[in-house]
């Protein structure tokens, strides 16, 4: 178990390495001299040179990379070119909002996916199954921002039931916070539930056709027990495995959803920073996003290995 865990951990290293290189590239690819941003536009050439030297910009690139990496691992991502605040403080300020949204979105997607997957698998090939299949296809085709806009149109503008944007942080008013969380979370859920639904349906149907279900029947086991322990327990595997993949895509959706609903999270920060050429912030948020995905995948894999030893042995060829 420890062996598997450390093996999995090691597998993430190359990915993280390349991602860190890409992040560094973003920083350095910024046109213009970073020292200029720090020193200010009116700095004299001598001041500029001094700042450059202090920032280590006269060193060869790989040295700069190592320095940057060292700083990054300590949580020091430098300063925002725009606001002057440290990047880490900016990110930490915006992080909670994104976490709330991402978690809420995943929960909605998971719940919807589970419900639709179960219902579709109950009578495969039937009318309900076909309807759900159509629904998932449509949901996959609709861009996140469009569904968000349509939801706002219906529930905010027309019906005026829910707010169309961020209202208040939980500490300032939990009721208002939740009511403003509903629409964006539902938007995310609507767009990301199909993978869950399809994987659960597929997994359940495949489990149901397996010989061990026939064995359960032949022993006279209670049908509900059979469903729980034989069909569901085995059939839910693909869906659980897909959590990591869905989470990755969902993060992309979070960036967009934050824009639609004016949600003050990391996604909005990232987008505005790109617009402002505030590359220090951009690369830090990118790194964080990838780190989150890698982490979630790792946790899902390890949790599965603990809970369900046989799955550890089946080839994880999905990676």
């Amino acid at each position: 178990m420890i062996g598997y865990g450390s093996k999995r951990l090691l597998q993430t290293v190359p990915t993280l390495f390349i991602v860190s290189v890409v992040s560094f590239a973003i920083l350095r690819a910024a046109p213009g001299n970073p020292a200029q941003y720090v020193a200010g536009l009116t700095a004299t050439p001598q001041v500029l040179a001094a700042v450059s030297h202090r920032m280590g910009l006269d060193q060869p690139l790989y040295v700069q990379y190592v320095r940057w990496l060292g700083d990054a691992l300590q949580g020091n991502f430098g300063h925002s070119y725009v606001s002057g605040r440290t990047v880490s403080s900016l990110i930490l300020a915006k992080l909670p909002a994104t976490i709330y949204l991402a978690v809420a979105g995943m929960v909605v997607a998971a719940v919807m996916g589970t419900i639709f997957g179960l219902v579709a698998a109950a009578r495969p090939g039937g009318r309900v199954d076909s309807a759900i299949s159509l629904l998932t296809s449509v949901s996959l085709a609709i861009p996140t921002f469009w569904s968000g806009i349509l939801l706002i149109l219906l529930f905010s503008v027309r019906l005026n039931w829910l707010p169309s944007g961020f209202m208040s942080s939980p500490s300032q008013g939990i009721g208002a916070f939740f009511s403003s969380l509903i629409l964006p979370a539902v938007t995310l859920g609507l767009n990301y539930f199909p993978v869950f639904a399809r994987f659960l349906r597929g997994g359940l149907l495949e489990a149901r056709g397996q010989p061990y279900v026939r064995t359960a029947v032949s022993k006279g086991l209670d049908p509900w027990y059979t469903f729980r322990v034989y069909v569901l327990r085995n059939g839910i595997q693909p869906m659980l495995t897909s959590i990591g993949m869905v989470f990755g895509r969902l993060l992309g959706g979070v960036v967009i959803t934050e824009s639609v609903f004016s949600w003050p999270g990391l996604g909005s920060l990232m987008v505005t920073s790109i617009g402002n050429r505030d590359y220090a912030v951009v690369q830090a948020s990118l790194l964080l996003a990838v780190l989150a995905v890698v982490l979630v995948n790792l946790v899902v894999d390890l949790a599965q290995a603990i809970v369900d030893p046989p799955s550890r042995l089946t080839a994880r060829s999905m990676t």
Partner: protein, 305 residues
């Protein structure tokens, strides 16, 4: 594999047939029959028709009697659907419908180019990696895996951050996202073909590397490549729209479906119809491409591969 004197003297352009009946040969020759089968099902017909409609619109909308998409008329800002403007006007008084059509054309163009780039680079590196094996394969795949580990939208945004915004840069961003996908698919397809006897035969007949790769491995990967093309097609449309929505893709004043939705968001209370058209255009295109992907997948599965 029976090595008759016949096969030794066979002209090099004749296809070899392996024990599974898969024929090597030109890529195009393998595509004709499946194409016909593609449109035989109802879904296939609908999908192909849908795509055709989009392509026709994208290429030929200028022939329609519509107002020019960049014609600004501040006197008719944000009007609803009317006789002169079938879907209303935008915040500059420009006709929404013609802008949508123009946007479709741009979307198709950007997608097509990025698919092509991703396909060419991804497929060739995938075949190369599969055939070379060893550390070449390992290094390439690790690099691609790292790219694949990043959520696609976020990767696209990152690339846009590095190289800038605009349609051309969006193409690069999309190609960066798509190349690893193609490479992976092609590589696994090739890996399952490599152990087959006809490859071994070709090697012993003295076939060059390039020859083996392109005359034998490639044609037998056409199926998965086709499926991936359709899938990535849908992907690229959505991602381009997303980038444009965020202001990182096609830049104004060029019309973009995502960009129009971004503006529509601001005027939602006063001009709700603005949001309907562009979104529907995107959704239907993606739906069509996904349906196409399903049909292609059905066909390639049925070939027993």
């Amino acid at each position: 594999m029976k090595m008759t004197s016949d096969s030794l003297t066979r002209p090099e352009s004749a296809p070899l047939v392996d024990d599974f009946g898969a024929a090597s040969g030109s890529v195009l020759s393998k595509m004709v029959a499946p194409m016909r089968r593609l449109v035989s099902s109802r879904k296939g017909k609908a999908a192909a028709a849908g795509l055709a409609v989009y392509v026709v619109i994208g290429l030929g909308w200028r022939l329609l009697p519509l107002p020019a998409p960049d014609y600004i008329d501040q006197t008719v800002r944000l009007r609803g659907p009317s006789a002169g403007h079938l879907l209303g006007t935008d915040e500059f008084g420009r006709d929404i419908l013609s802008r949508i059509f123009d946007g479709i054309g741009i979307t198709l163009g950007v997608s097509a180019i990025s698919i092509s780039v991703a396909l060419v680079i991804g497929v060739s590196t995938g075949i190369f990696a599969a055939y070379s094996g060893g550390w070449v394969d390992a290094v390439l795949m690790r690099a691609y895996d790292a790219l694949l580990a990043m959520p696609d939208m976020i990767l696209a945004i990152a690339v846009a951050a590095i190289i800038g915004t605009g349609a051309r840069d969006a193409i690069v961003a999309l190609a960066v996202v798509g190349t690893p996908q193609f490479a992976r698919i092609v590589r696994s397809s090739c890996l399952s073909e490599l152990p087959k006897t006809y490859i071994e035969a070709s090697v012993s007949l003295g076939g060059s590397r390039a020859r083996i790769m392109f005359r034998h491995l490639l044609p037998n990967s056409v199926g998965p490549i086709a499926v991936q093309t359709a899938i990535f097609g849908a992907f690229s449309v959505l991602m381009l729209a997303g980038l444009s929505f965020l202001g990182l893709g096609v830049q104004p004043p060029a019309p973009s479906l995502g960009g129009m939705l971004s503006t529509a968001r601001q005027y939602l209370a006063t001009a709700p119809w603005y949001a309907v058209g562009p979104g529907l255009a995107i959704a239907l295109l993606v739906l069509t491409l996904n349906a196409l992907a399903d049909c292609v997948r059905d066909i390639t599965d049925r070939r027993g591969r």
